[in-house]
Point group: C2
Chain length 325, copies 2
DNA sequence: CTGTTAGCGCCTTCAG
DNA sequence: CTGAAGGCGCTAACAG
């Protein structure tokens, strides 16, 4: 059996008899043949590898999204190369450059706040499609997967309003990321919709870390006219708020109500249990990967954006009674 | 300037004048030269890529370890290719095969329970060194990083003993993984050291999931002679136990004491706050990566095992009084 | 179906 | 320091 036939058999091209094919496969197995991926990539001009870039892999959200994406990609025959930007623009562009040099076939990117120009020249002359998730570079990429940030924050504001709160503050996330910006905008819109003015100092921008939120919460509560309710833009921020409250002996939900975007899997077991916006992180990774696979196989001809739905999970931190479930 | 000179300049070989070198570098930048990693890999027979295989990326422990490893590897010029074995042996061997085909330069593996033989032929004829972490394949690999499981469990048992408990049960983890086995062995040893017999049914083997622990806890408490204290072999298992207790209205720590291996970052905010064995997950990934880098550069000539230290974090779930910090 | 051939992009001789 | 040449392992194209 010839070399070219073997190659065809192993890769399933051409029309071969089933007999020849299985003979080749057997022989390959017997010889324990391991095709070299780099050589194949060089020849095929395609690596079957996609780059995955996030601000922080150790965050439950990104970790879950990674898992979702990984599963979907693996099913489609792709491998994933991971890079962590550590919430730094410089590291993000470096990561993209590395990935481009690797000739990845596609990119999954939760940007930490790249400008369109910076993005363009980071991926210069690469034709790998890029799908954004969580946070977006406006006007770029082949598609995007975002949470329904607007709906989520609106649910939160309305719910607090239902509990009688009017003095509602926001622990906002990084304003270089669209997820942070959208949630803040949604907060403003929801407040305005109820003709509530946002007092000075009620919006506190944080990095996405509990430490940052802890400090911001203290600042918020040290004000002359402290809020009676706080909306945290992420799970980390909600935890930071919880820590601060514990430190100053503020008891939730009696003295202060707290709700958060992101429902951590232990939300039920916190004290008090956390009222939050839930969604399936795994799905956002999976959806992004699905879009990317479409884009890489050429089945995605125009920019597509999918919004992952969110829901309000009522628990005790907002003032709702214990028995919910 | 010649091609060969350029190559030498870009890769820092040979002896070139500083002038030539910088000229080449400038020119490369001006032309926006992106060297093809696959081509380079093919020629150099080295990919500067390492494979990272874990049972579940979305688990906080593995996610943190991944981050630690990634940072260390990136600093040394390596990229990481991630594979999730989903706690299935078959997927783990498939992942290893893929990685070997990719000609990765090294492997970081938290095995889900491979036999030495299975491991051997999964990585057949690959000379990529493998560093195990968290769970090990006995007698294989170039090194390993493990937690001090024995010390951890001993601390837990002794602490419960100090609170007067004698009827101490164990939610054991998967017994195909050394981390699960070591913790169980340590439990038996610690009990025996105090001449305590482990009653029938006090050891419950779980998968590493809260659901599994929830069921096991119910079984434990349904026994005729239920334990007065439970040791959970991981954070997931502790959460499952907490959930079960909530379901059956058992209040901690009065009716039952709970302690766990793994101190989750929200351990402080649970109700009750969780007494647990803490350690730095990030470090285990980093240590493993360091070992691997040594092994890949040939500086590691014999098997080396590092044990990451652990400490007891006293909180309320064991019966300790509130104010600890 | 067979064989042969040419190259993917890079690095490393080796002779100038 | 230059330039040419060979080859890493694989696949596609071509003529038998």
């Amino acid at each position: 059996v010839s070399l070219s036939t073997a190659s065809r058999a192993l890769n399933g091209r051409g029309e071969l008899s089933a007999a020849t094919r299985s003979a080749v496969v057997e022989a390959a197995a017997a010889l324990d043949f391991r095709p070299s991926v780099p050589a194949r990539s060089l020849r095929m001009r395609t690596t079957f590898t996609v780059g995955f870039v996030v601000p922080d892999v150790s965050s439950p959200f990104y970790a879950a999204a990674l898992q979702g994406a990984q599963q979907r990609l693996e099913a489609a025959g792709y491998r994933v190369m991971l890079m962590d930007s550590a919430q730094e623009v410089a590291r993000e562009t470096a990561a993209l450059a590395t990935l481009v040099n690797h000739r990845v076939d596609g990119l999954l990117l939760a940007t930490t706040g790249l400008s369109a120009e910076a993005f363009d020249d980071a991926i210069a002359r690469s034709n790998a499609p890029c799908i954004f998730f969580d946070s977006i570079v406006a006007g770029r990429g082949a598609g995007a997967v975002e949470l329904d940030n607007h709906m989520g924050v609106e649910l939160l504001v309305d719910h607090l309003l239902g509990h009688g709160h009017r003095r509602i503050a926001l622990l906002a996330g990084s304003q270089t990321e669209t997820s942070g910006v959208e949630r803040r905008d949604a907060y403003r819109a929801a407040m305005a919709a109820h003709e509530l003015k946002v007092p000075l100092g009620y919006e506190r921008v944080c990095r996405w870390s509990s430490e940052s939120a802890r400090a911001a919460t203290h600042a918020l509560l040290d004000q002359a006219d402290p809020p009676t309710a706080i909306i945290a833009s992420s799970a980390e921020l909600a935890l930071g708020c919880l820590i601060a409250c514990r430190e100053r002996g503020v008891t939730l939900p009696d003295e202060l109500a707290l709700v958060g975007f992101d429902d951590p899997y232990f939300g039920d077991l916190l004290e008090p249990s956390l009222t939050a916006i839930g969604y399936i992180a795994h799905d956002v990774g999976e959806a992004a990967a699905s879009l990317l696979v479409e884009a890489m196989t050429g089945d995605l001809d125009e920019f597509r954006c999918v919004r992952v739905p969110v829901e309000l999970v009522r628990r005790r931190s907002c003032g709702c009674p214990e028995a919910q479930r």
